[in-house]
């Protein structure tokens, strides 16, 4: 048996064990997640909250501001994705209508130049 073979086996074994431990057994624990990392169903529910508020407030700028925490995509796109997921997940018709209303409103909404979303 060549002398380097045990070294190579040890190296591969060590790396493998290290990766398994770091990725599977004891991975990095995140506690300060940003909303864009939320699971799709939670993101959709967040969009539904914004849509429910929008129904009463009729303020697309405020709705867009609230949706901005979900990432840098355009608010209309975020609402559209949520609508698609809500449709696939058979959300109640009332909720679907709210999200759709928000998505449509955001498609036609133009932000005022000079204002920025968070």
């Amino acid at each position: 048996m060549p002398r380097w073979l045990p070294i190579l086996v040890a190296a591969v074994l060590g790396l493998t064990l290290g990766l398994v431990y770091g990725w599977v057994i004891n991975p990095v624990q995140y506690t300060d997640i940003t909303p864009d990392a939320l699971r799709i169903d939670y993101r959709t529910d967040y969009v539904l909250m914004v849509a429910e508020a929008y129904q009463a407030e009729q303020d697309p700028a405020l709705a867009a501001q609230r949706l901005a925490v979900l990432g840098s995509n355009p608010p209309a796109l975020i609402a559209g994705e949520a609508f698609q997921f809500a449709q696939q997940s058979t959300y109640p018709a009332d909720d679907l209508a709210l999200i759709q209303e928000l998505a449509v409103a955001l498609q036609t909404w133009q932000p005022i130049p000079g204002t920025s979303l968070p």
């Binding site: 995140y30 940003t34 169903d41 539904l48 508020a53 997940s89 009332d94």
Partner: protein, 287 residues
């Protein structure tokens, strides 16, 4: 019998490579969370999340749905978390409407939408205006089920699924921006209270406390803005201010309405016939 040689070189390489693998897994390419839950959000984003829940509640008045959503944040006491958030929002000067939504949800969770004890004269004022609520049908959130969807990675966490269960929900009709009326001005001579204490209570037409309402107190050389809801233990429509003796104050709501004028800490005598400064309890009501 000969002892086997320990392969020190291989062991050292094993340990080193284990460390390298661990470093890669933890620092260079850690596990990326793409399916996070709301309770793992950063604190400021949790505030955004609560604000959205409160805004939705302000729209649909569906307390069960709001409660189910708040549960996702794993706050030990959701109403306390909302109250604390409302205070933080007041401190940084966020819009009164948003603060009011958060504080109102906190009140609703505490079941403190109750009635403010007003004098009998006020009862007469509010009679006849208490029927202006409407019944609407709103969906409520079903409890979480354990159905995984095909769209996301399977996790151990149950996926909330919404089902349509219609029920009538009372939505209070709040006339935002309507001027307030001064409906109560009582002199307080309670020795248990701080001297010169000016208490202000703000209620709506159904005599429910209104949190986050801005009150302006003026006197000949100054002005102070205070907000209701900072002492939720005394009611979410409560705010107070300490008057200086021999100074005359005027109190009014920032949204307009009848002011309470010529307020000066009254002279009271306690049980030992010692004089002390009394206070006032002012009540504003949104008609």
């Amino acid at each position: 019998m000969t002892a086997k040689k320990i392969p020190w070189a291989a062991l050292v390489v094993l340990v080193i490579c284990f460390g390298l693998g661990l470093g890669y897994a933890w620092a260079i390419s850690p596990v990326k969370y793409v399916d996070a839950e709301p309770n793992t959000l950063r604190d400021d984003f949790k505030d955004h999340y609560r604000s959205a829940i409160a805004a939705a509640y302000a729209s649909n008045a569906d307390l069960e749905r709001a409660r189910a959503r708040l549960a996702l944040l794993n706050d030990p006491d959701p109403s306390q978390a909302l109250t604390a958030q409302a205070q933080r929002m007041l401190a940084v000067g966020e819009s009164p409407e948003t603060i009011q939504q958060v504080a109102s949800l906190a009140s609703a969770l505490q079941g403190k939408v109750a009635v403010d004890p007003l004098p009998d004269a006020t009862d007469t004022l509010t009679q006849g205006s208490e029927t202006s609520t409407q019944l609407v049908s709103t969906p409520i959130v079903a409890t979480e089920t354990s159905e995984p969807t095909t769209e996301v990675e399977a996790t151990n966490t149950p996926l909330p699924v919404l089902t349509a269960t219609l029920r009538p929900t009372q939505i209070p009709t709040v006339t935002l921006g309507a001027p307030y009326q001064l409906v109560g001005q009582d002199t307080l001579c309670d020795p248990e209270l701080a001297q010169g204490l000016l208490q202000v209570v703000v209620i709506d037409k159904r005599r429910q406390h209104i949190p986050g309402a801005e009150i302006i107190i003026t006197w000949n050389s100054g002005e102070e803005h205070i907000f209701t809801g900072l002492k939720p233990e005394l009611g979410n429509g409560y705010a107070d201010f300490l008057m200086t003796p021999d100074v005359t104050y005027s109190v009014r709501m920032a949204d307009g309405g009848t002011p309470a004028s010529e307020l000066s800490a009254p002279e009271c005598t306690n049980s030992d016939d010692n004089p002390n400064q009394g206070g006032f309890r002012i009540t504003f009501q949104q008609p």
